[in-house]
Structures are given as structure tokens and as C-alpha cells.
Amino acid sequence: MNTDPSTGATEPLCQRCESPLEPEDLRCAVCALPVPISPLADVQQAVTQILRCNGCGAAVRYLAEIGAPRCDFCDSVMEIETPEDPVEQAEFFVRFAITDEQARKALKRWLGGLGFFRPSDLQSRAAVDALKPLWWVGWMFDAEGTMTWAADSNAGSRRADWAPHSGQAPLRLHNVVVPASRGLTEVECRGLIASYDISNVATQPPHHDRATFEQFAVQRSAARKIISGALEAAARNRAVPLIPGARHRKLSVAVLPTRLVSRHYAFPAYVLAYRYRDKLYRAIVHGQDATCVVGKAPISWARVAAVALAVIALIAVVATIATA
């Protein structure tokens, strides 16, 4: 059992990997060790038992179609202990730190700084159609453990470009965010994650006039799979600096996580729909940092074509000079 120093509450831990267990878990989600059970009542001698319907008293049998015993006479269904698979809810809400107006200005500023290949009038002609504050959701996890890796790199290579390397390192991951949003794309979420200040969070949804709360789109069993995938991706990132040499390929990692703890967060953002030349685009403004904006913007194909022609012309001139 693990005791939370702030509340004094105890939560059960897996005996193998020391990750916290949920009350309904039959097995540890990280290492698959079964959760100990209170043994069934000891039977002193062989007897027979008939499972009787609580409603009408008839004998019932387990039905494959519904995955539980059901009475054929009155249709009563008996419950069997199974792992609960609820849709998860946010526990921590990161607060908004910028206003609607600041979000609009942030969008305008972003549109003006997207570079040469955007239309020159993008900033002036883009009109905000809709602005929606929302909390998108994600998991944040900490984990410890061991990571083993193997990869090819150019270090120590001989005739071939590559030489094999392997290694092992302790793994400590802290506050790794895994998006669980259905409304925002993975790329959009990744663009926003780094700028959140999670030191000041609310445990109840903060009051906001128009903000909507996104729900976790996946159930617990699916969530654990996503977190395991993210754990491996994070381990891969940690392994890269350990590989000797300047270049590498074919990196494989194996992770033995312990003490994996995940929390459910809601992150603030503004979703803005803006219109440019009758076409709608979407941008997301960070709910705390007005300089962090991600989204889509139109491309000036005339400018792209002009640059391409200039490059072709330059190549032609160089080729002509070289030939001469």
C-alpha cells in the first residue's frame, strides 16, 4: 500500500512493478500481475450448488450472448466481477490565463508572421468567424524503470556505413503528456503542450462563461495502451542521446517500467475559425501563452511558383555559364 502524505489515504500498489492499482483492476495495467483476491469461501466437503435467479428462483445458466448468467424465465441478469472500463474524467484543470481579445490578437499576430510563402494580405483580410474557448484533455504520466536499446550508428563503422550498438539506462520520465483529445489533432496538441504551466491547477472545473469541457474519448483499457505507446516513444527520445556517433538508424527500445502513475488533465485553449477569401481555416491559440499558436493557413501559390521559376532560371544560368 502506498500512502499519500497530503491526504493520508492509501492506494494499493502492484507487488511487482509498484504502479498504482485502480480499485476495479483484476490485473496490473503495466506488468499484468494479477491483483490478489480474497479467496472464495472454503468448502469443507463436495456439494452441488444451483445458481438461482434472484427474481423468480428458477435455475439460471451463463449465456455467451450477453456474457453473464441470465434467467430464461424472467430475463433477470446476474452480475459477474469484471474489470470496469469507464470513460475517464479529468482530475486537474489548468487555468486560462489569456482573454478572448488576447486570443484574437494572438491569431492576427501569428498570421502576420508565417513567412514569405503566405499571402501578403493574409493578416489584414483574415476575419475571425468563431472563437471557442475549451479545455482539451490528456494524460500526464510519471514513470521509472529500465530501458534497453539497440541501434546502428556511424560510430565505429568500418567498410559499411553502420555499426551496431546497444545499451541500458535507467529511465525516469516526469510529466509526459499524452493527448486524449478527439477535437484537436495530435499535431495541434503537441504544439501546445510545452507551454502549459501546470503548477497552478484546479481540481474542480474553473468557472468560464462559454468554455466547453472535452471528455476523454477513450475508455480506460484503451487509455493504458495509448500510455504504454507513449512511454515507449518517450523512451526512444531518451535513448537517442545515448547512441554514439552523429547518425543513427534502426533504433529499438525495450522498456521495463515501474511506478507508472498517470493523471488526467484538462488544458485550456481557444479554437478559432477564420475566413480568408471565402475559405475557412482553423487555428488554436494556447490558453495561457498568446505567443503559442498552431493551425492551418493558406499558401500563396503565386509566390511559390515565382520562387520555383527563379530557382530554375538560376540553375539554367549557372548551367549555361558552366557549359560556356
Partner: protein, 310 residues
């Protein structure tokens, strides 16, 4: 009423509904009363064994299992006619005992990693006019480098049979079972179904499970290796924090005796996913006729081709 010895049927058990005497085989956990058809669950003293920890409930209903079995029999074209007419109503849903093994694996390995590179080599040949010419070509060569390292991961969901009646290779053939649908064992799951007790000891099954886990580790290690290819993979495995849990797996079993002289044919269907395994008998007469027909068709085609008909 006391328990009978483990190898003798329980004669003294009375149906919990009508009181009729039940004859329960020692390796079964359920019995249906022949008089009132009530599904009885046998509750035994725990001294001779353990209760299962988990069970995977049946998902495939009997009508679907029967249809799959029927389709499998009809698809066995080269089987004797009597087999093709076999009755599938005898199919039974059985909770088969198995052990579920999990562990933490620490592996040390050595391997030769092949890194490919391309060389340009010169060779001499004759051109279309018969002259000797020198040409170049690229050739991929593999440079072999030794690598040693460590690998660590959890091993989960290794299932091995705990029933002498079901060979482990048969169980492997109908795996996997989706362990997300695992249920805590409860006699409620067995009501109306046949449930078998383990006939293999945990010690026997542990050895089987370890061997299967080490095999799985070999596959995962192969995927872990860098390079363009590898050979000579050798590894030593240390399994720690091992856990072995008795589990009941849902399997539809159909035993077919299509004639008195032929051996029993057995079909197994995964009661959760519908995956099936079985070896239908072969009719050598049908196979010979088919081969002769193919040969005759080839001969006819060649003959007609020779005579210019085709």
C-alpha cells in the same frame, strides 16, 4: 457427505434441484441433472487443488459454433464422405483449465549483426558480337559485427494447458484470447457449461510456460536487433517475479467418430474469437481421383495442342 477420492466419481452428490443422485466425473466442476436438466455447480474442498483465479467467458454462442463446425466439415473436400456427413450437434462448450504466466524478463544476448554495403566490381564478359569486354556492376556485401547487450521487459499472457486432454500446441493454435475480457472466477460463469479441473500440476505447467516465454523472448529479441540482418543470436534469460494463475478458457470441442475403424477427429473452436483448429481426415481415394483427373486434363490439353485443335 464427504468428498470421494480424487480419482473416483462423486456418486453421493445430490441434484440441488430435484435431489436425484449425480455421477460427477472427478475432473469436472459442473453436472447437468439427467432428471430435471438443472445445471449444478460442484463445490469441492480446496485441499486437492486451487480455484481458478480468472476465467474468460464464452462469447461465441452455440448456434454460431455449430455453424462454424459445419462449415469446417463441408470445406474438407478431400475427406471421406462419411466425415462430410458428420453431425455437429454433439459440439460442447467446455471451460478448459490453463495456466496464465507473467514475469519480468532480464536477458543477456550475443549476436552477429550484418551491415550491408555496396561495392563496385569489375568483370569481363562477351558482348553481342562475341568480343571480350570489361564491365562494372554493383554488389551488396554484408559486413558481420559482433554485438552483445541486455534486454528487459515484462512477459504477459503466456497460456499453457493444464488439461491432459488438450495438447499445448492445440491451445496455441487457437490463441490469442483477449485478456481485456478477463473475469474474476466465479461459479456463476460455469452454470450450464462443462468445466474441467486441471489434470496437470502447476509445477509441470510452470516449466511449459517458462519454455514458451523464452520462445516469445527470442522472437521479440529478433525484432529488437539492428542491422540489415542478424545471425547466431544466443541469449540467457532470467525470469523474476514469476506468477502463474489458473484460468478457465472457453473452448468449443467437437469430437467426430465418423466410422468405427478411423481415429477420432477433434475440432477446437476458441469460444471467444472463433479461431479453430482441427485436422480433417483424408480420403486417399478422393485424392487419387483428383490427381488422375488433373493429369488427364493436362494430357488432353497437350494432345489437343499437338494436333492443332487449340
Amino acid at each position: 457427505m464427504t468428498a470421494s477420492p480424487a480419482n473416483e466419481p462423486f456418486h453421493g452428490l445430490g441434484c440441488n434441484s430435484c435431489g436425484a443422485r449425480l455421477n460427477v466425473p472427478p475432473d469436472e466442476r459442473t453436472a447437468r441433472c439427467p432428471y430435471c436438466a438443472s445445471p449444478n455447480i460442484v463445490m469441492r474442498p480446496r485441499a486437492d487443488g486451487e480455484d481458478p483465479t480468472f476465467a474468460v467467458g464464452f462469447v461465441l454462442p452455440d448456434n454460431v459454433a455449430r455453424e462454424r463446425a459445419r462449415k469446417w466439415i463441408r470445406g474438407a473436400w478431400f475427406s471421406p464422405g462419411a466425415f462430410l456427413r458428420s453431425d455437429v450437434t454433439a459440439i460442447r462448450g467446455v471451460y478448459v483449465p490453463a495456466y496464465m504466466f507473467t514475469a519480468e524478463a532480464h536477458v543477456k544476448y550475443t549476436v552477429s549483426i550484418g551491415e550491408n554495403y555496396v561495392v563496385i566490381e569489375t568483370y569481363t564478359t562477351t558482348d553481342s558480337k562475341g568480343r571480350l569486354v570489361t564491365r562494372t556492376r554493383t554488389k551488396t556485401v554484408t559486413e558481420w559485427r559482433g554485438l552483445s547487450g541486455q534486454w528487459a521487459s515484462y512477459i504477459d499472457d503466456v497460456f499453457v494447458t493444464a488439461s491432459k486432454g488438450l495438447h499445448n500446441t492445440e491451445l496455441e493454435a487457437i490463441e490469442p484470447f483477449d485478456t481485456r475480457a478477463l473475469k474474476r472466477y466465479s461459479p456463476k460463469l460455469l452454470s450450464g457449461w462443462i468445466a474441467e479441473d486441471p489434470s496437470m500440476t502447476a509445477t509441470q505447467c510452470l516449466e511449459l510456460a517458462r519454455a514458451e516465454a523464452v520462445g516469445q523472448i527470442g522472437h521479440r529479441l529478433s525484432d529488437h536487433m539492428p542491422g540489415d540482418r542478424h545471425r547466431g543470436l544466443k541469449y540467457s534469460t532470467q525470469l523474476v517475479h514469476e506468477d502463474l494463475e489458473l484460468i478457465l478458457l472457453p473452448i468449443w470441442i467437437l469430437a467426430i467418430k465418423y466410422d468405427d475403424e478411423s481415429p477420432l477427429v477433434r475440432l477446437l473452436i476458441n469460444g471467444q474469437t472463433g479461431a479453430l483448429v482441427g485436422q480433417p481426415p483424408r480420403s486417399w481415394i478422393k485424392i487419387t481421383v483428383a490427381v488422375l483427373a488433373v493429369l488427364a486434363a493436362i494430357a488432353l490439353t497437350v494432345m489437343l495442342g499437338t494436333r492443332g485443335v487449340l
